[in-house]
C-alpha cells in the first residue's frame, strides 16, 4: 500500500513532466478545456436566469449545483483517460500484458499511469462558481462545508469511476469495439441539474441504476435543501462504495478472462 502511494506521486510527477515538455500542446489543451466549461456555464446562465424558480430551485442554487458538479467531474476526467481508450490500447494492442507482469495492482496502473492534467482547470472554475453563488444565496461556506464538499467530490469521482469501469470491463469479454462508453458519458451531464425536472423514470435511473445523481445532485441538495434531502448524506458514501466494490469484482473477473493478443 505504501509503495502504491509513493508510486502514485512518482507517476504524477513523471507524467506531468512529459505533458509540460510539450508546452504548446498543453497550453492549447488547457485553453480549450477552460473555454468549453465557460461556455457550459454561460449556457446554464442564459437558460435559467430568466426563470425565477424551477422545481423549487432558484437560479443561484442551480448554478451552485452546476459548479459543484464540475468538481467530481474534473477529478474523474483527470483519471479516466486510460479507461476511455482501454479497449483499443490495452486489449486490442495487447498493452495489458505489460500491466500484468508488474508487481502492482492492475487497476492502479491503468488509472494512474496517465493523467489529463488540464481537467484540473475545471476544478478551479467549479470552486469560483461555488463561492460566487454562495455569496448570492447568503450561504456561509465554512471549513465544515468545504470538508463536506471535498468528501462528496471524492465520492462522486468514485461513482463515475465505478460506472465507467464496469463499462470498460465489457472489452474483456467482447473483442468487437463496443460503443457503450460515449452515450453513458453524455449522461453525466444529466446530474448537473435538479433531478426533479426529469420524469420519475429518468430520476429513478439516475438514482439507482446509473447513480450519477448521487455524485452531484444529492450531495448538493442535502446541503442546500436540508429539510428535504438531509438523509441522503449517508447514502452518498454507501452508494459510492457499493458500486465501486461491484466494479472491482467485475474487473477481477475480467482480468481472469483476459485472453491477450495472438503474438
Amino acid at each position: 500500500m505504501r509503495r502504491h502511494i509513493s508510486l502514485l506521486v512518482e507517476y504524477f510527477i513523471q507524467y506531468s513532466k512529459v505533458r509540460l515538455a510539450y508546452r504548446g500542446d498543453f497550453l492549447i489543451s488547457v485553453v480549450t478545456t477552460v473555454v468549453a466549461t465557460v461556455f457550459g456555464v454561460a449556457t446554464v446562465w442564459l437558460i435559467f436566469h430568466r426563470v425565477p424558480r424551477l422545481v423549487g430551485w432558484d437560479f443561484y442554487e442551480i448554478l451552485f449545483l452546476y459548479g459543484f458538479s464540475l468538481l467530481p467531474m474534473s477529478l474523474f476526467n483527470m483519471l479516466s483517460i486510460n479507461l476511455y481508450y482501454f479497449g483499443e490500447t490495452y486489449i486490442v494492442e495487447g498493452k495489458f500484458d505489460r500491466v500484468l507482469v508488474r508487481p502492482l495492482n492492475s487497476l492502479f496502473q491503468i488509472l494512474f499511469e496517465q493523467f489529463r492534467l488540464e481537467s484540473l482547470s475545471d476544478m478551479v472554475l467549479g470552486v469560483v462558481l461555488l463561492v460566487g453563488c454562495a455569496r448570492h444565496l447568503g450561504f456561509a461556506l465554512g471549513p465544515w462545508e468545504w470538508l463536506y464538499l471535498a468528501a462528496a467530490t471524492v465520492c462522486g469521482c468514485v461513482i463515475y469511476l465505478a460506472i465507467f469501469l464496469m463499462l470498460t470491463c465489457v472489452s474483456f469479454w467482447m473483442e468487437d469495439r463496443v460503443g457503450v462508453i460515449p452515450p453513458v458519458y453524455n449522461m453525466l451531464t444529466f446530474g448537473r441539474y435538479p433531478l426533479d425536472i426529469y420524469n420519475p423514470f429518468v430520476k429513478f435511473l439516475l438514482s439507482w441504476i446509473v447513480p450519477f445523481g448521487f455524485a452531484t445532485f444529492y450531495p448538493t441538495a442535502s446541503l442546500l435543501k436540508e429539510d428535504l434531502y438531509r438523509h441522503y448524506i449517508y447514502l452518498v458514501p454507501l452508494v459510492a462504495a457499493s458500486f465501486f466494490l461491484l466494479a472491482l469484482w467485475i474487473w477481477s473477473r475480467g482480468v481472469r478472462n483476459y485472453s491477450s493478443t495472438g503474438s
Partner: protein, 338 residues
C-alpha cells in the same frame, strides 16, 4: 529435485467465433454465432531446474507465446498446473511478478515518452530495489550493454537495438531468479544480438538466474541454451540437449570426397558399397550418404580409401537448422513415433 518451474498437463483453449462471409453472414452473426475451441497449448509438462537456460522453439502459432503468457501470470490456464518460484502465477500475480523478469521482443516494457533513466528509476521504485543495488547493477549493465550513451533519450527515439538492450536491462534490474524472454533478439543486427547474448550468459553465470527464452534464431539456442524444447501445434515434441536432438533425429550422415583424378571417380562408382548413396557433385567431388544406423563415417572412409585415391575428405555435419526444419515439417515426427 524441486524445479524452479514445474508444469503439468498444461492446457490453454481459446474460444473463437467463426465469422460468416458477406453482409448477410455478418447479420446472421449478430444473432447466432458459431464458436469453436482452439487448443493453443495441449497437455504439456516439463520441469526447469535452478540456473538452467532453456530454449523454447517452434514454428509460428505453435503455442510458445501462449505458454510464456501462462507462465508469467498473464493468462489463466484452461487446465493443468503451473508452479513457478513456488507460486501459482495467475493466482498470486503481484507477489509472483516481483520474483520474475519478462522481456517481450515485440513490445517494449518501458514508458514510451520518458527518458530511459527515468524508466529505470520508476522500475527501481516499483520493485523496491535499494539505492546501492541499483547503482551496482546499472554500472554492471553499462559495462556489457553500453547503456550510458542513450540513458537520457526518450524510449520512442531509440533504435530497435538500443531499445532491446534497455528492455533486457530493465527486466533484470531487480535481479529476479527467473526470467522469461519472448523473442529477445527479433529483428536485431548481429552486434546487438551478440551484446544481448553475452549479457544473458553473464547474468546466468553470476547469479544462477534461470531463463526460458523463445526464439526463431537457432543460433541463440546454440550459444545460450544447454536444453531445448520444441513445440508444435501446442504439443511438446522434444525436450532435451542439443547433442541429444542431433543424435535422435540426425538419421543420415554424409561424407564428401575430393578425388585425385578422373580415373578415381570411375573406380569409386565401381565399388560395391551396399546401402550407400553415391552422388557426383562436380568432376572430382563426390558425396556419399548413408544411414547412421547401418554405417559409421569411419567405416565408409576406410572402405573408400582402400580402393580409391582421395585428396581430401570432409564429414558433413547436419546443421541444427536442418534438423529443426525437418521436425517442423513433420518428417522426423513420424520416425520418433514409431
Amino acid at each position: 529435485m524441486r524445479g524452479v518451474v514445474e508444469v503439468e498437463e498444461l492446457v490453454k483453449e481459446f474460444r473463437t467465433f467463426e465469422r460468416r462471409e458477406g453482409l448477410f453472414g455478418a447479420i446472421r452473426d449478430l444473432f447466432s454465432r458459431q464458436y469453436r475451441n482452439r487448443r493453443a497449448v495441449d497437455r504439456i509438462s516439463f520441469r526447469i531446474g535452478r540456473g538452467e537456460m532453456v530454449g523454447y522453439i517452434g514454428p509460428n502459432g505453435a503455442g510458445k507465446s501462449t505458454t510464456i503468457k501462462m507462465l508469467t501470470g498473464i493468462l489463466v490456464p484452461t487446465s493443468g498446473r503451473i508452479l513457478a518460484n513456488g507460486f501459482v502465477p495467475w493466482r498470486e500475480r503481484t507477489r509472483y511478478t516481483q520474483t520474475i523478469g519478462v522481456v517481450f521482443g515485440q513490445r517494449t516494457q518501458l514508458w514510451w515518452d520518458i527518458a530511459v533513466v527515468e524508466s529505470f528509476q520508476l522500475l527501481k521504485k516499483i520493485y523496491e530495489v535499494s539505492e546501492s543495488d541499483y547503482r551496482a547493477r546499472m554500472k554492471h549493465f553499462d559495462e556489457i550493454l553500453e547503456l550510458g550513451r542513450y540513458l537520457h533519450t526518450p524510449v520512442r527515439k531509440l533504435s530497435l537495438g538500443e531499445r532491446m538492450r534497455c528492455d533486457v536491462a530493465a527486466a533484470l534490474l531487480h535481479n529476479p531468479p527467473l526470467v522469461f524472454l519472448d523473442e529477445p533478439t527479433i529483428g536485431l543486427d548481429i552486434v546487438a544480438k551478440e551484446h544481448i547474448r553475452e549479457f544473458l550468459r553473464e547474468v546466468n553465470r553470476n547469479y544462477g538466474t534461470t531463463m526460458l527464452l523463445t526464439t526463431h534464431d537457432l543460433s541463440d539456442i546454440e550459444e545460450l541454451c544447454a536444453r531445448l524444447m520444441i513445440l508444435d501445434h501446442g504439443r511438446l515434441l522434444f525436450d532435451g540437449g542439443l547433442a541429444d536432438l542431433k543424435n535422435r533425429f540426425w538419421r543420415e550422415a554424409a561424407v564428401r570426397l575430393y578425388l585425385k583424378d578422373r580415373e578415381q571417380g570411375q573406380r569409386l562408382s565401381q565399388l560395391n558399397l551396399h546401402g550407400i548413396g553415391c552422388e557426383k557433385l562436380e568432376e572430382l567431388v563426390w558425396r556419399l550418404h548413408f544411414a547412421r544406423e547401418e554405417w559409421t563415417a569411419a567405416e565408409v572412409i576406410r572402405r573408400v580409401v582402400n580402393a580409391v585415391e582421395v585428396r581430401d575428405i570432409a564429414i558433413e555435419e547436419q546443421s541444427i537448422e536442418e534438423v529443426v526444419k525437418r521436425i517442423y515439417l513433420g518428417e522426423v515426427l513420424e520416425e520418433s513415433r514409431r
